[in-house]
Amino acid sequence: MSILVDKDTRLLVQGVTGREGTFHTRQAIEYGTTVVAGVTPGKGGRIHEGVPVFDTVAEARRATGANASTVFVPPAFAADAIMEAADAGVELVVCIAEGVPTLDMVRVMRFLESRPTRLVGPNCPGIISPGRAKVGIMPGHIHREGPVGVVSRSGTLTYEAVGQLTARGIGQSTAVGIGGDPIIGTPFIDAIRLFEADPETEAIVMMGEIGGTAEEDAARFVREHVRKPVVGFICGQTAPPGRRMGHAGAIIAGGAGTAAEKMKAMEDAGIRVVRSPADIGAAVSSVLG
């Protein structure tokens, strides 16, 4: 088992004929993901990277039974692409794009409220269930199958944690990058709830960062509902207040959203919080026993 993506994932790529879309479609196929369709409006009817291209998501879904989509369109058009996929009934939409305007995301979240689609991202590396499916831009080869669920707001920091686990011979059930923006489709709580319910996942790693209160919310959820061991890390412990640290959502505003507050909330919830990002692998080893 794993969460969100697996061998049954039938992937559709929005923006398939673009540079990023082309590259990552090839990578996903090489990894073994079942890529069934691509969508680029105006380029329907072609075959690209061995994948049939459609003009609309609805058409692509009807023809291929796609149940997941990755969005590789430029950020200004990402909201539209997400809503198109949701309107077509695609169950899972993963939006990689960084730089989606915040008010666009506000509108997207309202649009999704009345629909069953789950959005992951934007501004995220995507989702990988090692050995089964890769829906995103992460390097597949650093992962291996195993019992640890990883959820993170950052891309390369997720790779760092996965790299440490794999180096210790510890594999991952699924690694989910939820994204570094202030408004995202899948918060920590949702990913952690799925990992708690997944029989293959034995431990959870959550990597947060400064800004917002999603980590505090997740900590409360962990205290009340999670029995599996959780290891946590928060980056930005040394970040100055009032500055946006790369990610649109990584900002300490009005004294709120500090790493110290988050780490305390997580420790209070029984999460094993490491100070140093180099200690994630060792902490997981020790909670797995």
């Binding site: 590259f23 950020p75 200004a76 730089g99 989606v100 305007p101 915040t102 008010l103 666009d104 506000v106 509108r107 979240m109 309202r110 590396p125 831009i137 992460m138 390097p139 080869h141 650093i142 993170s152 707001r153 950052s154 891309g155 390369t156 920091l157 997720t158 790779y159 760092e160 790299g163 570094g180 202030p182 408004i183 990597m207 960062e209 400064i210 800004g211 917002g212 209160t213 999603a214 919310d217 980056c235 930005g236 412990q237 040394t238 970040a239 100055p240 009032g242 500055r243 640290m245 790369g246 649109a248 959502g249 990584a250 009005g254 004294g255 790493a259 100070r275 140093s276 990002p277 180099a278």
Partner: protein, 384 residues
């Protein structure tokens, strides 16, 4: 992106938000002329991108043109220090000359995006002119809130609810409600990330005004607002950060001496943290991004070395799509070209890491190769 008070007021006025009559002056002579044309008492307000200007001596009352000229002469060119500028302060390049108003009541209005609700929220408080964050911390019940759904917009009843909630009555309350509706329209139309009126003023003759105005904008939406993008004032920004931005690099200058170059914002923050844990201090945050090439790496090196306090550099790259051998080639080229004199600790992990190590070893340059983040941080701090 931040803009000046006078720019925010010009935008808001277009949406029907009432602002005091005013003009921008770059010289004392212009200040005098503006004061004369406005007439009566005026306020001279320093225009910098920082709050707390009044307490720092950057907002002063003048009885007429003579005094306005004298005060403008003192304020223009001064290094204004506020709680938001840091100790060195910010140089004042222009002042806003505004009509003096008869203040009866100072209130607060602000719109931000509430991350948890995923919606813009309009906040109103009777505690105008105060630091609203302090009010929120000490007496959260004094802040009234109304969430707003973009597209539907702030409804009249919501605005009335806030206006009456502030204790206003009769015609003033209805004027205040219209003011709020206009403020919200400006916020949504311009993709603002913050619109704050503090204080929101009621005058002795029952008129409502934006006495101060602050607007910040969503950087990710500036592409569809070329008019707002033009309002950017580069004099208000750290020159190295501006230069980095031109090359698509995300750089923030900090106080320490260990320069860092990292791919990805989260890993870049984590690298700063681990430098601190190793007993050192990071000189900067620098994210070279996911698709960085040799040229980007060279730009990054040039920018972080332009900070003279940097006495060692830590390169921390986790290669995914970005291949480590490409980064290593860039690091070697940059070190040669720029004649890097400080120790450079390099940690490369992920795609093609072994090949990258070989490139560094065979370069003939003296890189310190590190194994893992912990080792890299210790070596960089020791070398700094």
């Amino acid at each position: 992106m931040k803009i000046h008070e006078y720019q925010a007021k010009a935008i808001l006025a277009r949406y029907g938000v009432r602002v005091p009559r005013g003009e921008v002056a770059h010289t004392a002579a212009e200040a005098r002329a503006s004061a004369a044309s406005i007439g009566g008492r005026v306020v001279v307000k320093a225009q910098i991108h920082a709050g707390g200007r009044g307490k720092g001596g950057g907002v002063r009352l003048a009885a007429g043109p003579d005094e306005a000229e004298r005060i403008a002469d003192e304020i223009l060119g001064m290094m204004l220090v506020t709680h938001q500028t840091g100790a060195e302060g910010r140089r004042v390049g222009k002042v806003l000359i505004e009509e003096g108003l008869d203040i009866r009541n100072e209130l607060y209005l602000g719109i931000v995006i509430d991350r948890k609700a995923g919606l813009p929220v309009l906040m109103a408080s009777t505690e105008g002119g105060m630091d609203i964050e302090a009010v929120a911390a000490a007496t959260p019940e004094k802040i009234l809130k109304e969430p707003v759904v973009p597209g539907i917009g702030l409804q009249d009843f919501q605005a009335r609810k806030l206006a009456f909630g502030l204790g206003l009555g009769g015609r003033v309350a209805l004027d205040a409600a219209r003011f709020m509706t206009a403020l919200y329209r400006a916020f949504e139309d311009t993709d603002a990330s913050l619109a704050e009126i503090n204080p929101f003023l009621v005058t002795g003759d029952d008129a409502v005004y934006a006495l101060d105005a602050k607007m910040n904008f969503d950087d990710n939406a500036l592409g569809r607002h070329p008019d707002i993008r033009e309002l950017r004032d580069l004099d208000e920004e750290e020159p190295l950060e501006v230069e980095a931005g031109r090359h698509g690099l995300n750089y923030i200058k900090l106080d320490g001496n260990v320069g860092c170059m990292v791919n990805g914002a989260g890993l870049a923050m984590a690298t700063m943290d681990i430098i601190k844990l190793a007993g050192g201090n990071p000189a900067n945050f620098l994210d070279v991004g996911g698709g960085a090439n040799a040229e980007q790496v060279e730009n990054a090196f040039r920018i972080l070395l332009a900070d003279e306090s940097v006495s060692a550099v830590l390169v921390n790259i986790f290669g995914g799509i970005m291949r480590c051998d490409v980064v290593a080639t860039g690091v070697v080229a940059a070190a040669r070209k720029l004649g890097v004199a400080v120790p450079v600790v390099v940690r490369l992990e992920g795609t093609n890491a072994a090949e990258a190590q070989r490139i560094l070893r065979e370069s003939g340059l003296r890189f310190v190769v590190a194994d893992g983040m912990g080792d890299a941080a210790r070596k960089a701090v020791a070398a700094a």
